[in-house]
Protein backbone atom coordinates (compact mmCIF):
# COMPACT_ATOMS: atom_id res chain seq x y z
CA UNK A 1 0.00 0.00 0.00
CA UNK A 2 1.19 3.52 -0.78
CA UNK A 3 1.99 5.71 2.21
CA UNK A 4 -0.94 7.84 3.33
CA UNK A 5 -0.96 11.31 1.79
CA UNK A 6 -0.88 13.67 4.75
CA UNK A 7 -0.81 16.97 2.92
CA UNK A 8 -3.79 19.20 3.13
CA UNK A 9 -4.93 22.58 1.99
CA UNK A 10 -6.46 25.27 4.07
CA UNK A 11 -7.54 28.72 2.99
CA UNK A 12 -5.16 28.53 0.05
CA UNK A 13 -2.16 27.42 2.13
CA UNK A 14 -0.73 23.97 1.50
CA UNK A 15 0.18 22.26 4.74
CA UNK A 16 2.57 19.35 5.11
CA UNK A 17 0.00 17.74 7.34
CA UNK A 18 -3.12 18.79 9.21
CA UNK A 19 -1.48 19.11 12.64
CA UNK A 20 -1.14 22.63 13.99
CA UNK A 21 -0.53 23.99 17.47
CA UNK A 22 -2.79 26.44 19.30
CA UNK A 23 -2.10 30.08 19.93
CA UNK A 24 -0.96 30.79 23.46
CA UNK A 25 0.21 27.27 24.13
CA UNK A 26 3.21 27.15 21.83
CA UNK A 27 4.95 30.44 22.53
CA UNK A 28 6.71 31.87 19.51
CA UNK A 29 7.81 28.57 18.09
CA UNK A 30 11.11 27.86 19.79
CA UNK A 31 10.02 26.67 23.21
CA UNK A 32 9.10 23.14 22.19
CA UNK A 33 11.78 22.41 19.62
CA UNK A 34 13.65 20.10 22.00
CA UNK A 35 10.50 17.99 22.20
CA UNK A 36 8.85 18.19 18.84
CA UNK A 37 10.67 19.09 15.61
CA UNK A 38 8.79 21.90 13.89
CA UNK A 39 9.38 20.39 10.48
CA UNK A 40 7.13 17.51 11.53
CA UNK A 41 4.18 19.86 12.04
CA UNK A 42 1.72 21.24 9.53
CA UNK A 43 2.17 24.60 11.16
CA UNK A 44 2.21 26.53 14.39
CA UNK A 45 0.11 29.40 15.64
CA UNK A 46 1.94 32.07 17.60
CA UNK A 47 0.93 33.59 20.91
CA UNK A 48 -1.69 36.30 20.40
CA UNK A 49 -0.31 39.80 19.97
CA UNK A 50 -1.84 43.22 20.50
CA UNK A 51 -0.73 46.62 19.19
CA UNK A 52 0.84 47.59 22.51
CA UNK A 53 2.86 45.37 24.83
CA UNK A 54 0.82 43.84 27.65
CA UNK A 55 1.99 42.47 30.99
CA UNK A 56 -1.21 40.45 31.28
CA UNK A 57 -2.89 39.39 34.50
CA UNK A 58 -1.34 38.80 37.91
CA UNK A 59 -0.66 35.24 39.01
CA UNK A 60 -2.14 32.73 39.71
CA UNK A 61 -2.97 32.51 36.04
CA UNK A 62 -3.59 28.79 35.92
CA UNK A 63 -5.87 26.39 37.73
CA UNK A 64 -6.33 22.74 37.02
CA UNK A 65 -9.85 21.30 36.89
CA UNK A 66 -11.03 17.75 36.12
CA UNK A 67 -9.50 16.98 32.70
CA UNK A 68 -9.27 20.72 32.15
CA UNK A 69 -7.15 23.80 32.62
CA UNK A 70 -8.31 27.31 33.42
CA UNK A 71 -6.02 30.08 32.21
CA UNK A 72 -6.11 33.80 32.64
CA UNK A 73 -2.85 34.91 31.08
CA UNK A 74 -4.49 38.13 30.00
CA UNK A 75 -2.81 38.33 26.62
CA UNK A 76 0.68 39.04 27.89
CA UNK A 77 2.71 39.78 24.76
CA UNK A 78 5.54 42.01 23.55
CA UNK A 79 3.28 44.19 21.38
CA UNK A 80 3.30 44.65 17.61
CA UNK A 81 6.45 46.71 17.30
CA UNK A 82 8.62 44.36 19.32
CA UNK A 83 7.02 41.42 17.54
CA UNK A 84 8.02 42.86 14.17
CA UNK A 85 11.55 43.70 15.18
CA UNK A 86 12.53 40.83 17.50
CA UNK A 87 10.26 37.91 16.78
CA UNK A 88 9.20 38.02 13.15
CA UNK A 89 12.74 37.74 11.74
CA UNK A 90 13.11 34.49 13.68
CA UNK A 91 9.70 32.95 13.18
CA UNK A 92 9.67 33.51 9.43
CA UNK A 93 12.67 31.19 9.23
CA UNK A 94 11.01 28.36 11.12
CA UNK A 95 10.71 25.18 9.07
CA UNK A 96 6.91 25.08 9.12
CA UNK A 97 3.92 27.24 8.28
CA UNK A 98 3.57 30.03 10.82
CA UNK A 99 0.24 31.61 11.64
CA UNK A 100 0.18 34.84 13.62
CA UNK A 101 -2.66 35.42 16.06
CA UNK A 102 -3.95 38.93 16.69
CA UNK A 103 -6.22 40.25 19.42
CA UNK A 104 -7.64 43.64 20.03
CA UNK A 105 -9.92 45.80 22.07
CA UNK A 106 -11.14 47.97 19.21
CA UNK A 107 -11.50 47.73 15.45
CA UNK A 108 -8.43 49.92 15.01
CA UNK A 109 -6.35 47.55 17.13
CA UNK A 110 -7.05 44.83 14.60
CA UNK A 111 -6.55 46.90 11.46
CA UNK A 112 -3.28 48.31 12.74
CA UNK A 113 -1.86 44.82 13.12
CA UNK A 114 -3.32 43.53 9.87
CA UNK A 115 -1.66 46.38 7.99
CA UNK A 116 1.73 45.36 9.40
CA UNK A 117 1.30 41.65 8.77
CA UNK A 118 1.04 40.89 5.08
CA UNK A 119 2.24 38.18 2.77
CA UNK A 120 5.72 39.68 2.56
CA UNK A 121 6.08 39.07 6.31
CA UNK A 122 6.67 35.42 5.58
CA UNK A 123 3.66 34.38 7.64
CA UNK A 124 1.27 31.80 6.24
CA UNK A 125 -1.95 33.27 7.61
CA UNK A 126 -3.45 35.55 10.19
CA UNK A 127 -5.68 34.12 12.89
CA UNK A 128 -8.00 36.75 14.27
CA UNK A 129 -8.94 36.11 17.87
CA UNK A 130 -12.25 37.86 18.41
CA UNK A 131 -12.88 36.74 21.95
CA UNK A 132 -11.81 39.94 23.72
CA UNK A 133 -14.18 42.60 24.97
CA UNK A 134 -14.51 45.63 22.74
CA UNK A 135 -13.60 48.37 25.16
CA UNK A 136 -14.89 51.07 22.79
CA UNK A 137 -18.33 49.51 22.78
CA UNK A 138 -18.92 49.07 26.49
CA UNK A 139 -17.06 45.80 26.78
CA UNK A 140 -19.39 43.96 24.45
CA UNK A 141 -17.44 41.08 22.98
CA UNK A 142 -16.49 41.00 19.31
CA UNK A 143 -16.75 37.26 19.60
CA UNK A 144 -20.34 37.11 20.76
CA UNK A 145 -22.01 39.70 18.56
CA UNK A 146 -22.35 38.62 14.92
CA UNK A 147 -22.28 42.12 13.48
CA UNK A 148 -19.10 43.10 15.35
CA UNK A 149 -17.49 39.84 14.33
CA UNK A 150 -18.33 40.42 10.69
CA UNK A 151 -17.04 43.99 10.88
CA UNK A 152 -13.75 43.12 12.46
CA UNK A 153 -13.06 40.34 9.95
CA UNK A 154 -13.99 42.59 7.03
CA UNK A 155 -11.75 45.35 8.36
CA UNK A 156 -8.80 42.99 8.77
CA UNK A 157 -9.41 41.46 5.35
CA UNK A 158 -9.24 44.90 3.76
CA UNK A 159 -5.80 45.57 5.24
CA UNK A 160 -3.88 42.42 4.52
CA UNK A 161 -3.40 39.99 1.66
CA UNK A 162 -2.81 37.08 4.05
CA UNK A 163 -5.48 34.41 4.41
CA UNK A 164 -7.72 35.23 7.37
CA UNK A 165 -8.70 32.63 9.94
CA UNK A 166 -11.45 33.78 12.29
CA UNK A 167 -11.08 32.23 15.72
CA UNK A 168 -14.46 31.89 17.34
CA UNK A 169 -15.44 31.89 20.97
CA UNK A 170 -17.62 29.00 22.13
CA UNK A 171 -19.35 31.18 24.71
CA UNK A 172 -22.27 31.92 22.45
CA UNK A 173 -25.82 30.71 22.05
CA UNK A 174 -25.41 29.97 18.37
CA UNK A 175 -21.97 29.18 16.97
CA UNK A 176 -23.37 28.78 13.46
CA UNK A 177 -24.61 32.36 13.46
CA UNK A 178 -21.11 33.52 14.40
CA UNK A 179 -19.52 31.38 11.70
CA UNK A 180 -21.90 32.79 9.11
CA UNK A 181 -21.03 36.29 10.25
CA UNK A 182 -17.29 35.85 9.81
CA UNK A 183 -17.89 34.17 6.46
CA UNK A 184 -19.78 37.27 5.37
CA UNK A 185 -16.87 39.32 6.68
CA UNK A 186 -14.57 37.47 4.29
CA UNK A 187 -12.84 34.91 6.51
CA UNK A 188 -10.98 32.20 4.63
CA UNK A 189 -11.25 29.69 7.47
CA UNK A 190 -12.52 29.42 11.03
CA UNK A 191 -10.78 28.14 14.13
CA UNK A 192 -13.06 26.34 16.57
CA UNK A 193 -12.90 26.69 19.55
CA UNK A 194 -11.36 29.15 21.93
CA UNK A 195 -11.77 28.47 25.65
CA UNK A 196 -15.02 28.21 27.61
CA UNK A 197 -15.39 30.84 30.30
CA UNK A 198 -15.00 29.24 33.72
CA UNK A 199 -13.68 29.73 37.21
CA UNK A 200 -12.75 27.87 40.35
CA UNK A 201 -12.59 28.80 44.00
CA UNK A 202 -9.87 28.11 46.54
CA UNK A 203 -11.55 26.64 49.62
CA UNK A 204 -8.77 27.68 51.97
CA UNK A 205 -8.59 31.29 50.88
CA UNK A 206 -12.33 31.43 50.08
CA UNK A 207 -11.46 33.42 46.99
CA UNK A 208 -11.28 32.62 43.27
CA UNK A 209 -8.13 30.64 42.47
CA UNK A 210 -7.27 32.88 39.52
CA UNK A 211 -6.20 36.42 40.29
CA UNK A 212 -8.46 37.42 37.41
CA UNK A 213 -11.48 35.53 38.89
CA UNK A 214 -12.49 34.12 35.47
CA UNK A 215 -10.40 32.10 33.09
CA UNK A 216 -10.68 30.16 29.89
CA UNK A 217 -11.27 26.43 30.18
CA UNK A 218 -9.28 24.24 27.79
CA UNK A 219 -8.23 20.61 27.64
CA UNK A 220 -9.97 17.24 27.25
CA UNK A 221 -12.92 18.38 29.38
CA UNK A 222 -14.16 20.70 26.61
CA UNK A 223 -13.65 18.33 23.68
CA UNK A 224 -17.31 17.26 23.40
CA UNK A 225 -18.37 20.91 23.11
CA UNK A 226 -15.68 21.61 20.52
CA UNK A 227 -16.54 18.58 18.39
CA UNK A 228 -20.20 19.56 18.49
CA UNK A 229 -19.40 23.08 17.26
CA UNK A 230 -17.18 21.80 14.47
CA UNK A 231 -19.97 19.44 13.44
CA UNK A 232 -22.57 22.22 13.42
CA UNK A 233 -20.42 24.70 11.52
CA UNK A 234 -19.36 22.08 8.98
CA UNK A 235 -23.01 21.43 8.21
CA UNK A 236 -23.87 25.09 7.91
CA UNK A 237 -21.08 26.80 6.03
CA UNK A 238 -18.42 26.03 3.45
CA UNK A 239 -15.28 27.45 5.05
CA UNK A 240 -12.52 25.09 6.12
CA UNK A 241 -12.39 24.55 9.86
CA UNK A 242 -9.38 24.23 12.17
CA UNK A 243 -10.63 22.06 15.00
CA UNK A 244 -9.24 22.43 18.51
CA UNK A 245 -10.28 21.95 22.10
CA UNK A 246 -8.83 19.14 24.16
CA UNK A 247 -6.94 17.29 21.47
CA UNK A 248 -4.34 15.13 23.19
CA UNK A 249 -4.29 11.83 21.30
CA UNK A 250 -4.67 10.83 17.66
CA UNK A 251 -8.11 9.48 18.46
CA UNK A 252 -9.16 12.95 19.55
CA UNK A 253 -7.76 14.43 16.35
CA UNK A 254 -9.55 11.90 14.14
CA UNK A 255 -12.78 12.73 15.95
CA UNK A 256 -12.40 16.37 14.88
CA UNK A 257 -11.52 15.45 11.30
CA UNK A 258 -14.53 13.14 11.01
CA UNK A 259 -16.70 15.92 12.44
CA UNK A 260 -15.57 18.22 9.64
CA UNK A 261 -12.28 19.86 10.58
CA UNK A 262 -9.78 20.23 7.74
CA UNK A 263 -6.92 20.61 10.21
CA UNK A 264 -6.56 20.16 13.94
CA UNK A 265 -4.67 22.16 16.49
CA UNK A 266 -3.08 20.92 19.69
CA UNK A 267 -3.04 23.28 22.67
CA UNK A 268 -3.19 22.14 26.26
CA UNK A 269 -2.34 18.65 25.01
CA UNK A 270 1.25 19.79 24.49
CA UNK A 271 1.55 20.42 28.21
CA UNK A 272 0.54 16.85 28.93
CA UNK A 273 2.65 15.31 26.21
CA UNK A 274 5.05 17.57 24.33
CA UNK A 275 5.30 14.96 21.62
CA UNK A 276 1.54 14.80 21.18
CA UNK A 277 1.61 16.43 17.73
CA UNK A 278 4.06 13.81 16.44
CA UNK A 279 2.08 10.94 17.91
CA UNK A 280 -1.13 12.37 16.55
CA UNK A 281 0.26 12.52 13.04
CA UNK A 282 1.44 8.94 13.24
CA UNK A 283 -1.86 7.83 14.67
CA UNK A 284 -3.90 9.52 11.95
CA UNK A 285 -1.75 7.88 9.31
CA UNK A 286 -2.23 4.49 10.96
CA UNK A 287 -5.97 5.05 11.13
CA UNK A 288 -6.09 5.86 7.43
CA UNK A 289 -4.08 2.75 6.60
CA UNK A 290 -6.34 0.57 8.71
CA UNK A 291 -9.42 1.95 6.99
CA UNK A 292 -7.93 1.90 3.51
CA UNK A 293 -8.02 5.66 3.19
CA UNK A 294 -5.41 7.15 0.86
CA UNK A 295 -5.37 10.75 2.05
CA UNK A 296 -6.10 12.46 5.33
CA UNK A 297 -8.24 14.87 3.33
CA UNK A 298 -10.76 12.08 2.85
CA UNK A 299 -11.38 11.93 6.58
CA UNK A 300 -12.77 15.44 6.69
CA UNK A 301 -16.46 15.35 7.54
CA UNK A 302 -16.72 11.61 6.98
CA UNK A 303 -19.00 11.10 9.96
CA UNK A 304 -21.66 13.23 8.28
CA UNK A 305 -21.73 10.97 5.27
CA UNK A 306 -21.37 7.37 6.29
Amino acid sequence: MCPVDSTTELAGITLRNPILTCSGTYGFGEEYTAYCPLEALGGITLKGITPLPRLGNPVPRLAETPAGLLNAVGLENPGLEEFLSSYLPKVRKLPTAVIANISGFSLEDYTQMARALRRDSGLAALEVNISCPNVKHGGMHFGTDPQSAEDVIAAVKAETDLPIIAKLSPNVTDIVEMARAVQRGGADAVSLINTLLGMSIDLDRQRPVLANTFGGLSGPAIRPVAVRMVWQVYQAIDLPIIGMGGITTWQDAVEFLLAGATAVSVGTGNFVNPQAPLEILKGIQGYCEKHGIASVRELVGLAHKS
Partner: protein, 283 residues
Protein backbone atom coordinates in the same frame (compact mmCIF):
# COMPACT_ATOMS: atom_id res chain seq x y z
CA UNK B 1 14.22 16.38 26.91
CA UNK B 2 11.32 13.96 27.21
CA UNK B 3 12.36 10.66 28.71
CA UNK B 4 11.04 7.76 30.65
CA UNK B 5 12.35 7.38 34.15
CA UNK B 6 12.46 3.89 35.55
CA UNK B 7 11.39 3.83 39.18
CA UNK B 8 14.20 2.19 41.12
CA UNK B 9 13.37 3.42 44.62
CA UNK B 10 10.06 4.77 45.83
CA UNK B 11 9.55 4.88 49.55
CA UNK B 12 8.24 6.90 52.39
CA UNK B 13 10.68 9.44 53.73
CA UNK B 14 10.62 9.64 57.49
CA UNK B 15 7.51 9.62 59.60
CA UNK B 16 4.25 8.71 57.91
CA UNK B 17 2.30 11.80 58.96
CA UNK B 18 4.83 14.02 57.18
CA UNK B 19 3.63 12.51 53.89
CA UNK B 20 7.08 12.81 52.35
CA UNK B 21 8.24 10.46 49.58
CA UNK B 22 11.56 9.64 48.02
CA UNK B 23 11.54 8.67 44.37
CA UNK B 24 14.67 7.62 42.52
CA UNK B 25 14.46 7.43 38.74
CA UNK B 26 16.96 5.93 36.38
CA UNK B 27 17.38 7.75 33.11
CA UNK B 28 19.69 9.91 31.04
CA UNK B 29 18.87 13.31 32.48
CA UNK B 30 21.23 13.07 35.47
CA UNK B 31 24.08 13.67 33.05
CA UNK B 32 23.10 17.23 32.23
CA UNK B 33 21.22 18.46 35.30
CA UNK B 34 22.20 21.34 37.55
CA UNK B 35 21.24 21.91 41.18
CA UNK B 36 18.07 24.00 41.33
CA UNK B 37 16.65 22.65 38.12
CA UNK B 38 13.48 20.62 38.10
CA UNK B 39 11.56 18.05 36.13
CA UNK B 40 7.91 17.98 35.06
CA UNK B 41 6.56 14.55 35.90
CA UNK B 42 3.48 12.98 34.42
CA UNK B 43 2.03 11.43 37.55
CA UNK B 44 0.11 8.71 35.75
CA UNK B 45 1.35 5.92 33.59
CA UNK B 46 1.93 7.71 30.28
CA UNK B 47 0.23 4.90 28.34
CA UNK B 48 -3.11 5.63 30.05
CA UNK B 49 -5.40 8.09 28.31
CA UNK B 50 -6.69 9.43 31.62
CA UNK B 51 -6.67 13.22 31.99
CA UNK B 52 -7.63 13.86 35.58
CA UNK B 53 -5.22 15.11 36.88
CA UNK B 54 -4.26 16.72 33.60
CA UNK B 55 -0.97 18.52 34.04
CA UNK B 56 2.51 17.38 34.86
CA UNK B 57 3.82 18.25 38.29
CA UNK B 58 7.07 20.21 38.74
CA UNK B 59 9.46 18.60 41.21
CA UNK B 60 13.00 19.75 41.99
CA UNK B 61 16.03 17.56 41.60
CA UNK B 62 17.00 16.60 45.12
CA UNK B 63 19.94 14.49 44.11
CA UNK B 64 21.75 14.17 40.82
CA UNK B 65 23.94 11.15 40.26
CA UNK B 66 25.45 11.23 36.78
CA UNK B 67 27.60 8.16 37.51
CA UNK B 68 24.59 5.94 38.12
CA UNK B 69 22.23 7.87 35.80
CA UNK B 70 19.89 8.46 38.68
CA UNK B 71 17.95 11.44 39.91
CA UNK B 72 16.17 11.66 43.22
CA UNK B 73 12.93 13.51 43.73
CA UNK B 74 11.72 14.24 47.23
CA UNK B 75 8.17 15.41 47.50
CA UNK B 76 5.27 15.92 49.83
CA UNK B 77 1.90 14.36 49.05
CA UNK B 78 -0.42 17.36 49.09
CA UNK B 79 -3.11 16.74 46.49
CA UNK B 80 -4.40 14.60 43.69
CA UNK B 81 -1.27 14.65 41.57
CA UNK B 82 1.22 13.73 44.24
CA UNK B 83 -1.28 11.23 45.65
CA UNK B 84 -1.28 9.36 42.34
CA UNK B 85 2.46 9.75 41.90
CA UNK B 86 2.95 8.13 45.30
CA UNK B 87 1.40 4.93 43.91
CA UNK B 88 4.09 4.37 41.28
CA UNK B 89 6.02 1.19 42.04
CA UNK B 90 9.52 0.00 41.35
CA UNK B 91 9.74 -1.08 37.76
CA UNK B 92 7.10 1.41 36.59
CA UNK B 93 8.11 4.02 34.06
CA UNK B 94 7.24 7.69 34.47
CA UNK B 95 7.28 10.28 31.74
CA UNK B 96 9.68 13.06 32.65
CA UNK B 97 10.43 16.40 31.01
CA UNK B 98 13.72 17.90 32.06
CA UNK B 99 16.09 19.02 33.34
CA UNK B 100 14.14 22.26 33.19
CA UNK B 101 14.86 25.85 34.05
CA UNK B 102 17.90 27.63 35.34
CA UNK B 103 19.39 26.37 38.58
CA UNK B 104 21.59 27.97 41.23
CA UNK B 105 24.90 29.39 40.19
CA UNK B 106 27.96 27.95 41.87
CA UNK B 107 30.34 30.65 43.11
CA UNK B 108 33.99 30.32 42.25
CA UNK B 109 35.16 30.58 45.83
CA UNK B 110 34.16 31.95 49.23
CA UNK B 111 31.37 30.85 51.51
CA UNK B 112 27.92 29.67 50.52
CA UNK B 113 25.02 29.90 52.91
CA UNK B 114 21.98 27.78 52.20
CA UNK B 115 18.78 29.02 53.78
CA UNK B 116 15.84 26.66 53.63
CA UNK B 117 12.27 26.76 54.85
CA UNK B 118 10.39 23.47 55.12
CA UNK B 119 10.66 21.27 52.04
CA UNK B 120 12.52 24.11 50.34
CA UNK B 121 15.51 22.15 51.61
CA UNK B 122 15.23 19.59 48.82
CA UNK B 123 16.82 21.44 45.86
CA UNK B 124 19.62 22.74 48.08
CA UNK B 125 21.25 19.37 48.72
CA UNK B 126 22.80 18.88 45.28
CA UNK B 127 23.97 22.49 45.46
CA UNK B 128 25.70 21.76 48.78
CA UNK B 129 27.31 18.65 47.31
CA UNK B 130 28.67 20.47 44.31
CA UNK B 131 29.83 23.46 46.33
CA UNK B 132 31.70 21.18 48.71
CA UNK B 133 33.24 19.28 45.82
CA UNK B 134 34.47 22.59 44.50
CA UNK B 135 36.02 23.45 47.85
CA UNK B 136 33.64 26.16 48.98
CA UNK B 137 32.65 26.38 52.61
CA UNK B 138 28.98 25.70 53.05
CA UNK B 139 26.66 26.49 55.93
CA UNK B 140 23.01 25.52 56.29
CA UNK B 141 20.15 27.38 57.97
CA UNK B 142 16.98 25.36 58.01
CA UNK B 143 13.64 26.04 59.58
CA UNK B 144 10.73 23.65 59.88
CA UNK B 145 7.64 22.98 61.92
CA UNK B 146 9.24 20.60 64.38
CA UNK B 147 11.93 18.01 65.01
CA UNK B 148 9.98 15.20 63.38
CA UNK B 149 9.75 17.14 60.16
CA UNK B 150 13.43 18.00 60.05
CA UNK B 151 14.44 14.44 60.79
CA UNK B 152 12.01 13.06 58.23
CA UNK B 153 13.12 15.49 55.55
CA UNK B 154 16.73 14.35 55.62
CA UNK B 155 18.55 16.01 58.51
CA UNK B 156 20.95 13.10 58.93
CA UNK B 157 22.08 13.32 55.28
CA UNK B 158 22.86 16.97 55.84
CA UNK B 159 24.70 16.19 59.04
CA UNK B 160 26.75 13.64 57.14
CA UNK B 161 28.07 16.45 54.95
CA UNK B 162 29.95 17.73 57.98
CA UNK B 163 28.95 21.37 57.50
CA UNK B 164 27.76 23.81 60.17
CA UNK B 165 23.99 23.59 60.51
CA UNK B 166 21.62 26.02 62.21
CA UNK B 167 18.17 24.63 62.82
CA UNK B 168 14.99 26.39 63.83
CA UNK B 169 11.58 24.93 64.56
CA UNK B 170 8.29 26.65 65.13
CA UNK B 171 7.70 24.66 68.30
CA UNK B 172 11.27 24.67 69.56
CA UNK B 173 11.51 20.89 69.51
CA UNK B 174 14.87 21.10 67.75
CA UNK B 175 17.29 23.97 67.29
CA UNK B 176 16.17 27.48 68.01
CA UNK B 177 12.49 28.24 68.40
CA UNK B 178 11.06 30.54 65.78
CA UNK B 179 11.89 31.67 62.31
CA UNK B 180 15.04 30.65 60.52
CA UNK B 181 15.64 34.25 59.48
CA UNK B 182 16.40 35.22 63.08
CA UNK B 183 19.41 32.92 63.08
CA UNK B 184 20.48 34.13 59.68
CA UNK B 185 20.34 37.71 60.88
CA UNK B 186 22.49 36.86 63.89
CA UNK B 187 25.20 35.20 61.87
CA UNK B 188 25.08 37.79 59.18
CA UNK B 189 25.97 40.43 61.76
CA UNK B 190 28.76 38.29 63.04
CA UNK B 191 30.02 37.70 59.53
CA UNK B 192 29.76 41.38 58.68
CA UNK B 193 31.75 42.14 61.77
CA UNK B 194 34.44 39.66 60.82
CA UNK B 195 34.62 41.01 57.32
CA UNK B 196 34.84 44.56 58.56
CA UNK B 197 37.52 43.66 61.10
CA UNK B 198 39.58 41.93 58.46
CA UNK B 199 39.22 44.98 56.26
CA UNK B 200 37.97 42.93 53.36
CA UNK B 201 34.86 43.74 51.36
CA UNK B 202 32.10 41.18 51.47
CA UNK B 203 32.03 41.13 47.74
CA UNK B 204 33.01 37.79 46.30
CA UNK B 205 33.08 36.23 49.74
CA UNK B 206 29.61 35.28 50.88
CA UNK B 207 26.80 33.97 48.73
CA UNK B 208 23.31 32.96 49.75
CA UNK B 209 20.94 30.50 48.10
CA UNK B 210 17.46 30.20 49.54
CA UNK B 211 14.37 28.11 48.92
CA UNK B 212 11.19 28.00 50.96
CA UNK B 213 8.02 29.93 51.55
CA UNK B 214 7.62 33.18 49.64
CA UNK B 215 7.64 35.33 52.80
CA UNK B 216 10.79 33.67 54.08
CA UNK B 217 12.67 34.18 50.83
CA UNK B 218 11.54 37.77 50.77
CA UNK B 219 12.90 38.32 54.29
CA UNK B 220 16.17 36.58 53.43
CA UNK B 221 16.54 38.72 50.34
CA UNK B 222 16.05 41.88 52.37
CA UNK B 223 18.65 40.79 54.92
CA UNK B 224 21.12 39.99 52.17
CA UNK B 225 20.49 43.16 50.25
CA UNK B 226 21.05 45.18 53.41
CA UNK B 227 24.41 43.48 53.82
CA UNK B 228 25.32 43.55 50.15
CA UNK B 229 25.36 39.76 49.97
CA UNK B 230 24.35 38.27 46.62
CA UNK B 231 21.34 36.03 47.07
CA UNK B 232 19.61 33.59 44.76
CA UNK B 233 16.01 32.53 45.40
CA UNK B 234 14.02 29.66 43.96
CA UNK B 235 10.48 30.75 43.12
CA UNK B 236 7.40 28.60 42.79
CA UNK B 237 4.44 29.14 40.56
CA UNK B 238 1.68 27.01 39.03
CA UNK B 239 2.91 25.67 35.73
CA UNK B 240 1.25 24.72 32.47
CA UNK B 241 3.86 23.92 29.84
CA UNK B 242 7.02 24.10 32.00
CA UNK B 243 9.04 25.19 28.94
CA UNK B 244 8.22 28.87 28.57
CA UNK B 245 5.44 28.54 26.01
CA UNK B 246 2.25 29.37 27.92
CA UNK B 247 3.12 32.31 30.17
CA UNK B 248 1.25 30.67 32.99
CA UNK B 249 4.06 30.86 35.54
CA UNK B 250 5.36 34.40 35.37
CA UNK B 251 6.93 36.28 38.21
CA UNK B 252 7.49 39.99 38.37
CA UNK B 253 11.02 41.37 38.31
CA UNK B 254 12.52 44.82 38.11
CA UNK B 255 14.99 45.28 35.26
CA UNK B 256 18.04 47.55 35.51
CA UNK B 257 15.98 50.55 34.51
CA UNK B 258 13.54 49.79 37.31
CA UNK B 259 10.77 48.79 34.93
CA UNK B 260 8.52 45.95 36.03
CA UNK B 261 8.86 42.99 33.73
CA UNK B 262 7.62 39.42 33.72
CA UNK B 263 9.87 36.41 33.56
CA UNK B 264 8.90 32.79 33.38
CA UNK B 265 9.60 30.76 36.48
CA UNK B 266 9.84 27.59 34.40
CA UNK B 267 12.34 28.83 31.86
CA UNK B 268 14.06 31.95 33.19
CA UNK B 269 13.94 30.51 36.74
CA UNK B 270 13.03 28.95 39.05
CA UNK B 271 16.20 30.53 40.44
CA UNK B 272 16.45 34.31 40.24
CA UNK B 273 18.68 36.91 41.82
CA UNK B 274 16.86 38.00 44.94
CA UNK B 275 17.31 41.70 44.34
CA UNK B 276 15.50 41.64 41.01
CA UNK B 277 12.38 39.96 42.40
CA UNK B 278 9.37 42.15 43.12
CA UNK B 279 7.89 40.38 46.13
CA UNK B 280 4.60 42.16 46.59
CA UNK B 281 2.99 42.33 43.20
CA UNK B 282 -0.41 42.78 41.81
CA UNK B 283 0.38 42.79 38.13
Amino acid sequence: MLTEGLVVVHERLGEEAQRLMKLVLKGPIAKTAQAGQFVAVRVQDPTLASYDPLLRRPISLAEISPESDEITLLYRVVGKGTEILARARCGDRLSIMGPLGRGFSLPEDGELWLIAGGIGIFPLYPLAQRALAKGLSVRLFWGGDNQTFLESAGLSEWQALGIPIHLSTMDGSLGQKGLVTVQVLGLLWEFNGKVENSGQTMDGKLYVATCGPHKMMQAVTELCMNSGVPVEVSLEERMGCAVGACLGCVCTLKDEAGTLIHKKVCQDGPVFRGEEVVWDVSC
